[in-house]
């Protein structure tokens, strides 16, 4: 990916606190947060209007769960880079999300540094 081009980040998480935490923590240059979504449907709507290139995705959400959302987003944009963020209760679920097209996994709880490292790696993928 071209480093000079700005990356557009969408945060998908049903928890307000988590969304704000990611917003606050994110400090990678060239990454612009284009919006946050509280569930899968909102994420798809937001994707249509703001065309994010990067996504942080919670797995357990109401309405449409993270895995389905990953699948739909990848279906719309095969180049989209998705970082799945979840408290890791079940590795099989995380692996399923990666099979559906996510690029990486970050385990809750995480530090600011871990988030930024993960986002940096997501960009270089």
């Amino acid at each position: 990916m071209n480093a000079a081009r700005a990356h557009r980040l969408m945060i998908v998480d049903d928890s307000n606190i988590m969304r704000r935490k990611i917003e606050r923590s994110q400090e990678i240059p060239n990454v612009e947060i284009v919006g946050t979504a509280g569930n899968g449907h909102e994420a798809l709507v937001l994707h249509a209007s703001s065309h994010p290139t990067l996504v942080t995705m919670d797995l357990t959400m109401p309405e449409m769960d993270g895995i389905e959302c990953v699948e739909q987003l990848v279906g719309r944009d095969p180049d989209i880079r998705i970082l799945v963020i979840s408290a890791l209760a079940d590795k099989a679920t995380a692996i399923e999300a990666l099979e559906k097209g996510a690029s990486g996994f970050l385990c809750k709880p995480f530090t600011e540094r871990q988030l930024n490292d993960a986002l940096a790696k997501l960009i270089e993928t």
């Binding site: 970082l83 890791l88 590795k91 099989a92 692996i95 990666l98 970050l106 993928t125």
Partner: protein
């Protein structure tokens, strides 16, 4: 250092290219040389012929003179005539051969040689016809007359030709000989220069050949060194693979194992690696099917370009797994393995392989567990000390003595011979009773930590008792726990001893412990049975959320020989009364009974026959149906037995080993061992147990004991 494929090929091709060009030059040189040599040979041959021919004009002169003299003397002259013809033909042929040699020697175009050759031809053509003419004269040259022989016409013609020949001979000798001399001289020069140039060629050729040899030697040495380097590198790789403690292996896109892997792999996985086997096959015997499926999915993720390998570390299901390896002599051994996977990158993308790394992390896991355990133990130690401080030292010492005795008795049971399944089960029940008694006493003294430890041993025994089949091997954990428990109690014994040394005049303790505790610590006498029972009932009632009042009578009258047994029995029965006899508060309320239940324990003389220890509660009574059900369920009796049993026989079942109606196992009761321990103790003392109960009203156990002198069983004198 990066090395492109092209560089490598060129380096390999260089010696071949150089050798080939050298060989071509050498071939060219040799071709020239061979050509020069054959030219030289032709020139030499021509030279030799020319030299030989130089004597011929002289020869013709001699022969002609012979003919002339012969004719004068009228002798036979045919022979010299033939000789001349032969020599002349020989000369002609020699000239043809010289011409051929000259052409072969590459002198066909040489002007000098051709001029000389022309002169030779001219001189010969002048002389040769004269010789031809002589040869033409056939028949005798003489005519015989009476006056003697004289020349006939032929003879005269011959004589004329011979004379003419002789006349020309001098000139011919000069001209032909001179021409031949010139030719020979020219050829001599040519041979000389050709010989020199051939030598030069040969020297150059030898030099080139030498150089080629040297080059070949150089390249062969270099390739030898290169292959030695390659071999050394190969050996080093083998050394690394043979030495690393990690199991290293490669997986291709089909997740098949590569041919090269570290020696540790077979050791860590406890299995030989079959050629071309798949990773899945390798893993299958080690992990549950579900983990296997997840693991294969995970490994396949690494082939997806889009997935970042560092960002999926945490979902690796093989990150730390516990696996079971069967041991040679039976049984299994549990190990902890950790698998990691790395992409082997090649220029511009994913390579052909994943590198797998497996490590045996059992030690690490063990250490971290031990650390956690020791943390927990420290906490337990602190708890224990707090508990121990609340029990008077003498009481503690007596507890430790009794417990040690019980554990020794357990050990003695284990030590008895008997290998049959039924014998093993008898041992199991025996150990169980002893251990359960210790637990009961520990709870009675509110020594929760000790009770918990003993409870663990009890758990092991229960686990064993529930097995379909037991053998001696299965007792190893039991004896190990027993050993640990003895050490543990030994430590507590020491603590109690030290405590008893500091306690008697222990005003100093007051300053560091609360007044109530200090009062207890200062009590040096054994606590009375009543105190113990109060404690037991309070503990059990609070654990069960029941309200119970205890009433005791005559307990200080128990004769010394019965004190220990009566204490054990009373503790068991009182706890049982609270746990099993007394109903839950709401059930009591529903039955319009007082909220606070009552448990009574009394000891009194039984006329002159001995004594009776009574434990009575105002609870629900013995549940006849449930006892029968439980006994049937546990296989303690058959349905036909059950049909024949009367009420009192059914109640008797509760004293059988392994009987328990309590649904939940707690530290307080429900193991089904309390009552059979009581029954055993009473029997050992030569006594008997009587039961009286009424549904929803009360249960009363009367333990009748003979006069102490009558039968003193050495119950605890193991």
């Amino acid at each position: 250092m990066k090395r492109r494929r092209g560089d490598f090929d060129l380096a390999q091709l260089l010696p071949v290219a150089v050798a080939t060009s050298f060989a071509a030059v050498l071939t060219l040189l040799l071709t020239f040389g061979i050509q020069r040599a054959s030219q030289l040979q032709s020139a030499s041959s021509a030279l030799q012929l020319a030299s030989e021919l130089r004597s011929l004009p002289q020869y013709f002169g001699t022969e002609l003179t012979l003919i002339q003299r012969g004719l004068e003397a009228r002798t036979f002259v045919a022979e010299p005539i033939t000789d001349i013809a032969t020599a002349r033909e020989g000369f002609d042929k020699a000239l043809v051969r010289i011409d051929a040699d000259l052409v072969a020697a590459g002198l066909g175009g040489s002007a000098d040689i051709q001029r000389v050759r022309g002169a030779l031809d001219a001189a010969w053509q002048r002389f040769s016809p004269l010789l031809v003419a002589i040869g033409r004269h056939k028949g005798s040259p003489y005519a015989d007359t009476l006056a003697g022989s004289r020349l006939n016409a032929t003879g005269r013609a011959l004589k004329a030709d011979v004379d003419e020949g002789l006349a020309a001979q001098a000139a011919a000798t000069r001209d032909v000989g001179g021409a031949l001399k010139d030719l020979a001289g020219g050829l001599q020069d040519t041979v000389g220069s050709r010989g020199r140039s051939l030598r030069t060629f040969l020297v150059i050729g030898a030099a080139v050949a030498g150089l080629l040899l040297a080059l070949m030697l150089y390249f062969s040495l270099r390739s030898r060194r290169a292959s030695a380097d390659a071999r050394r590198a190969e050996r080093q790789v083998a050394d690394i693979l043979g030495t690393v403690r990690e199991g290293l292996f490669l997986l291709d896109r089909n997740l098949a194992l590569g041919a090269v892997y570290s020696a540790s792999l077979t050791r860590i996985l406890h299995s030989e690696i079959v050629r071309d086997s798949s990773f899945e096959d390798l893993l299958r015997p080690l992990v549950p099917a579900k983990t296997l499926a997840t693991a294969m999915k995970f490994v396949n993720l690494l082939w997806k370009e889009k997935v970042h390998e560092d960002l999926i570390d945490t979902v690796n299901p093989l990150n730390q797994i516990e696996v079971q390896f069967s041991r040679a002599g039976g049984g299994a051994e549990s190990r902890h393995l950790s698998f990691a996977f790395k992409r082997v990158k090649s220029a511009g993308g994913l390579g052909e392989h994943l590198l797998g790394i497996v490590t045996d992390v059992t030690d690490r896991v063990q250490i971290s567990r031990e650390l956690e355990q020791s943390k927990a133990e420290n906490q337990a130690q602190l708890d224990l000390v707090m508990q121990l401080l609340q029990v008077p030292a003498a009481q503690l010492q007596s507890f430790v003595r009794d417990a040690d005795m019980a554990l020794r008795k357990s050990n003695a049971i284990l030590k008895q011979p008997g290998r049959e399944e039924s014998e093993l089960r008898t041992k199991l029940n025996g150990v169980f009773r002893e251990v359960h008694t210790v637990k009961g006493e520990a709870s009675a003294l509110a020594l929760g930590s000790i009770a918990a430890r003993v409870h663990q041993l009890e758990e092991s025994l229960v686990a064993l008792r529930d097995r379909a089949h037991v053998d001696g091997n299965d007792f190893i954990p039991i004896v190990v726990r027993l050993d640990e428990l003895m050490s543990y109690l030994g430590g507590i014994g020491q603590f109690a001893d030290r405590l008893s040394e500091v306690q008697p005049k222990g005003d100093t303790m007051k300053s560091v412990v609360p007044p109530l505790l200090a009062k207890q610590l200062l009590t040096t006498d054994d606590p009375s049975l009543e105190q113990l029972l109060t404690q037991v009932v309070r503990e059990a009632a609070s654990a069960q959320a029941k309200r119970v009042a205890l009433a005791c009578r005559g307990l200080d009258l128990i004769p010394a020989p019965y004190r220990k047994a009566a204490k054990d029995i009373a503790i068991h029965m009182a706890r049982n009364a609270v746990v099993h006899g007394i109903e839950a508060p709401d059930a009591r309320q529903a039955a319009s009974k007082p909220d606070t239940a009552s448990v009574r324990v009394s000891f009194e003389a039984n006329g002159t026959d001995g004594y009776v220890l009574t434990v009575e509660d105002d609870g629900q009574g013995l549940p006849f149906e449930r006892i029968l059900d439980a006994a049937l369920r546990k296989g303690l009796l058959s349905p036909s037995d059950a049909a024949r049993m009367d009420r009192s026989a059914v109640y008797g079942l509760i004293f059988r080993a392994g009987f328990s109606t309590a649904e939940q196992v707690t530290e307080h009761a429900g193991r089904g061992v309390g009552l059979d321990a009581v029954s055993q103790a009473v029997r050992e003392l030569g006594g008997s147990i009587g039961i009286a109960t009424a549904d929803g009203k009360f249960t009363r156990f009367r333990m009748k004991l003979p006069q102490p002198g009558d039968k003193i069983a050495a119950t605890h004198a193991a």
